[in-house]
């Protein structure tokens, strides 16, 4: 398994898409209330969980995220009425697809966290970090590189052959 931080012990990188109206505010509240949680998440604020395009999530994985967390308003509470329902439907189909592609279901997570639930941010983040830590690195950028190693070997043999033919 490739290890990103060879010096230190590996810890997961988790990209979190939090909706502006609920989960982002909750994360803010957690900060203001000095609630401590694992530092492994990189939060990206979106206006609504319904704005989270599945392309964002795949791109996060492809660029090196070990897990992706989406946080939105509780069902019925969406600022835009039904953005979170759209997010839920997309999430369920996407998780089915990514599981088929070999990405463990625990690496992709959707949680409803309202603006007042600062402590739920801590619980969810800590739980996800511990689950993803157990799974180990996903390391897609390294995998892409190692898949392309085989091309280098062939490139080399082709070059040799061409030199030979041109003589």
């Amino acid at each position: 398994m490739p290890n990103h931080n060879t010096e230190k012990q590996w810890t997961p990188k988790i990209v979190a898409f939090f909706c502006n109206w609920c989960t982002y505010t909750a994360a803010d509240l957690a900060g203001v209330s000095r609630i401590k949680h694992a530092p492994n998440i990189r939060v990206i604020r979106v206006m609504c969980s319904g704005r989270v395009d599945p392309q964002f999530l795949l791109d996060a994985f492809a660029k090196g995220a070990d897990g992706v967390l989406i946080g939105g308003c509780h069902p019925g509470d969406c600022h835009y009425i039904e953005g979170n329902y759209k997010c839920l439907r997309r999430f369920q189909l996407l998780q089915k697809m990514t599981t088929d592609m070999g990405i463990e279901p625990d690496r992709l997570r959707l949680e409803w966290i309202s603006a007042s639930e600062g402590d739920k941010v801590r619980v969810v983040v800590n739980d996800m970090v511990s689950k993803v830590t157990k799974l180990g690195p996903l390391g897609l950028p390294d995998k892409f590189k190692s898949w392309d190693e085989e091309m280098k070997i062939f490139e080399h043999s082709i070059e040799e052959k061409e030199v030979f033919e041109h003589v």
Binding site: G50, D53, P54, Q55, L57, L58, D59, F61, A62, P75, Y85, K86, L88, R89, R90, Q92, L93, L94, K96, M97, T98, D100, M101, G102, I103, L138, L140, K143, F144, W147, D148, E150, M151, F154, E155, S157, I158, E165
Partner: protein, 322 residues
């Protein structure tokens, strides 16, 4: 004899349908032959690899290469044609996005070879013989191309200037591309030579597409009768029209078969499968986890459905654990 611009046509991991589409030019092929010299076309004409190798670098105006890249031979030919050509066009869905052969990226090479040479129901192979890359007999060595573990799009192996999408591309697109090459008025490098709008725009059933789609279930065409007058999505069939580039003339939909997405995404979309997945699933007519799951039973193979022509060119490229 006057010098006509030279064109090469080559195939890699493909079915031959793209070659058919060249023949489908019908009378227009006479126009093509009048205006260009074909210097390589293994399917149609007897030119040798060494003839092309003997040509100076950059002497071919354009190479149209179809098929994904899976073998060392395909890579070698692609790289050779790259050197000899001013412009390389990835021709067809396999060269552009990986195509149907790209679905093999869900399995390891060993799984595929084991099935094909040992386990397939139609195979009798008690000695478990498999082809060798090198075989010596009477002092002579026979070589076969090596297989890669990964199926790649053409532009993952060599630089590509333009793309002509489709499985296969329509003869109209090919003719337009040849005309553009002859006129020298070429679009910016990286352009897909097809209209940059979604298929729904040119669909004759467009007017019956509701603004608010709601899927109560997903239907499959072999189990349900299609109403030829109505938008296929509104009937519950998975038609990839909203997430697929137009240019085919909506051939499948006119034949009452849903679009399967062979023309790839428009320029605004990076990952066609993810985008279509997004568009379809957000219109599921259920709000709870259980009810959504019940409806999703109608999509038993999301990878094969959404990435039918584009797995190697997608963001994830290949199954992660193989």
């Amino acid at each position: 004899m006057s010098e006509k611009p030279k064109i090469a046509l080559y195939w890699c991991a493909s079915c031959g349908g793209c070659e058919e589409s060249v023949v489908d030019l019908a009378e227009d092929i006479l126009f093509v032959v009048d205006n260009v010299d074909i210097v390589l076309w293994p399917v149609g004409l007897d030119f040798k690899k060494k003839d092309v190798e003997a040509m100076p670098d950059g002497s071919i105006v354009a190479s149209l290469i179809n098929g994904a890249i899976r073998t060392t031979e395909q890579e070698e030919m692609a790289r050779m044609l790259r050197r000899k050509s001013q412009v390389v066009i990835a021709y067809g869905a396999c060269a552009q996005l990986g195509g149907i052969p790209g679905l093999a990226n869900q399995f390891s090479l060993e799984t595929i070879l084991k099935f094909v040479y040992e386990e397939a129901p139609s195979v009798v192979n008690e000695l478990k013989t498999r082809p060798l890359e090198r075989f010596k007999d009477n002092g002579r060595t026979t070589e076969l191309p090596g297989l890669w573990n990964v199926v790649r799009t053409l532009d993952q192996v060599i630089d590509v200037e333009y793309y002509i999408p489709g499985c296969p591309p329509s003869p109209k697109l090919l003719k337009e591309a040849v005309l553009a090459l002859l006129s020298g008025h070429l679009p910016p490098v990286g352009t897909v030579l097809a209209p940059d709008i979604a298929l729904c725009e040119e669909c004759s059933k467009k007017d019956t597409k509701p603004t608010d789609l709601k899927f109560e279930s997903f239907k499959r065409t072999h189990l349900w009768e299609v109403d030829p007058e109505k938008c296929l999505l509104s009937q519950g069939f998975l038609c990839m029209g909203p997430a697929t580039r137009s240019g085919c003339g909506a051939l499948c939909v006119e034949g009452n078969m849903p679009c399967t997405g062979c023309y790839g995404p428009t320029s605004r979309v990076r990952d066609q499968g993810a985008k279509f997945l997004s568009s379809i699933s957000s219109s599921i007519g259920a709000d709870s986890v259980e009810d959504i799951d019940k409806i999703l039973v109608g999509i038993p193979d999301p990878v094969g459905t959404f990435y039918r022509y584009g797995l190697p060119g997608s963001m994830l490229k290949r199954k992660v654990v193989l």
